[in-house]
Amino acid sequence: MKTGKFEINVDELRKGGVVKLKDKDMFSLWVRAVCDNMDAVKLRKVAELAEKYAKGYVLFSTRQFPIIPHIHFKDVGAVKDELEKVYVMLDRCGTRVRNPDVCYDANICPYAVMDPISMGEKLDQFWRDDPGGFKIKTSIVGCEKQCSSPRVLADVGFVGAKRSGRRGFDAYLGGKLGLDPFLGIRMAELLSEEECLKFLRNYTQFLRKEGRANKKERAAALIRRLGEEVVRDAVTHDLKQGFSTTPFECDTKQSQKIDKSILRIRATNGEVTSKQVRKIADIAEKYGLGYVHFSVRGGPEIPGVDSALFVEIAESLKEAGLEILDKGIDNLQTCFGGYCVNGNLNTQPLLREVEKIVKKLGLNDLDIKISASGCPNSCGISHLSDIGFMGVVEPEVIKKKCTGCDICAKACRVDAIKIENKLAVIDLEKCKNCDMCIKACPFDALYEKRQGISILVGGRGAYFMDDKKTGVTLIGKKLVDFIDEKRALEITQKILELAREKSKTVAELIDEMGIQNFRSFVLR
């Protein structure tokens, strides 16, 4: 399609992976990472394109693939063409199936009970030609430590497990964060790969038959609306029949056991400059297996590194302003934050301030996770962190501007808006303060009555360090709402001081003190 200003191939956009940002005509490109890994050659290409067409940095996202933010509308086609030269496609977004997420190769991770990569290759093929229309996230982990949190970060989560001498994948259904988080329910146990695929086939057929596409229904909504038992019957029938597919080969798959370490690198806000990306690619080639793994919390990981060389590598990383992510506070992660079209909060500068507090307090021995999301959709997994920030807004209707067109009610994901006598009426009890109604209103008939930061506490996606808590996933509880950044930082400092004093995670502190006492202590 050609116009006076632009020439673009609109077909480029049909498959998704191109997401609009807040700045006019600016998009982000979601770069696909098969099995959440990417080799050094592809990674360098991503770095080069970020420099050539965008702002010279890449976002390592909670969805475990790199994103190039700030690409102008007219350059989308060119970037996509250049990526294809190194056999890289775009990931999918919107109401489409997402590429499956995995933790680590069973040949790399000593804890793996099942091989997530083998399953991931099959899922990749399974989803390849999905027609879209429904959002479906899938995630596979090799053991019950559940490093990539499939019980909450995926509609369908397969968790490698071993019980009474048998191994297989437990299948969880319904996981999601967002406005109404849902912890996936275990629907079937110890499935083979073929049975997992049959489970998934059952689910997709059921979703297409029963799901309300206009309501963007996902597994959690089906379970809530139809009841657990109805859904269980639908997804577990005839599992024994199995379903098979030719796997799409993951080019970073390891054929032999590798008894080495995984080097993790700090990337605050998931942001890594092109120069840093090239350094990481170099290190992966020189010291590792030639590829990088994308973790949920955004810190890039280089598997297959001899830990005796960590000191030498740390020196090399320093040249690019990078450091190893060791014990202590995990990578400070966020979503698009300030540049997302839905963002209500500049999460990036907030987390930079939090980072200063962390450094000042010297919290090196605590297993604590902190993240921030620009809005309650929680793409920055705020619900799964010891301390999770979210930008929140309270909407109000300007009666004389409202035409009763109903678009705000459609934009509302929690049915908090009704049109009565051609006027939008908001139920603030139901409202989750996401601001979608205000942004969607074509006539500016809604405005932000209140705006601020909400803090969630005590969430936990996975317990890696503590074997007693294997398999536990906790959704954070709301501590406080509509506060400003200064107050948010004061509270954060208070929580971290308490965690340091007692040497406990926030979830443990809440367990010990009770949420009421914890709240009154840290808000004092």
């Binding site: 049909r14 919107g94 067109c405 678009i407 979608m436």
Partner: protein
């Protein structure tokens, strides 16, 4: 209400996000400032997203009309 003069029509029914927005945007590019584009959009995600994006690009939404199972949106280029 006075009838608004429509300068251009596009039918974005059956076109998914963000393609419907991009095509709408390209159609707006073709207009002169002050001219009006009428876009047909599906219910669901398109009717929530496309007018919003046009608004964020600085254009004015004049009307949103429900027609059976879809919508007609009138956008004035600014």
């Amino acid at each position: 209400m006075e009838k608004i003069k429509i300068d251009q029509n596009i039918d974005m029914r059956g076109v998914s996000c963000p393609l419907n927005y991009v095509k709408t945007k390209l159609a707006i590019e073709e207009l002169e400032v002050g001219e009006v584009l009428a876009v047909l959009l599906d219910d669901g995600e398109p009717i929530v997203n496309v007018p919003r994006s046009a608004k964020e690009d600085g254009h004015q939404i004049l009307e949103v009309n429900k027609i059976q199972d879809h919508y007609q949106v009138l956008i004035k280029k600014r």
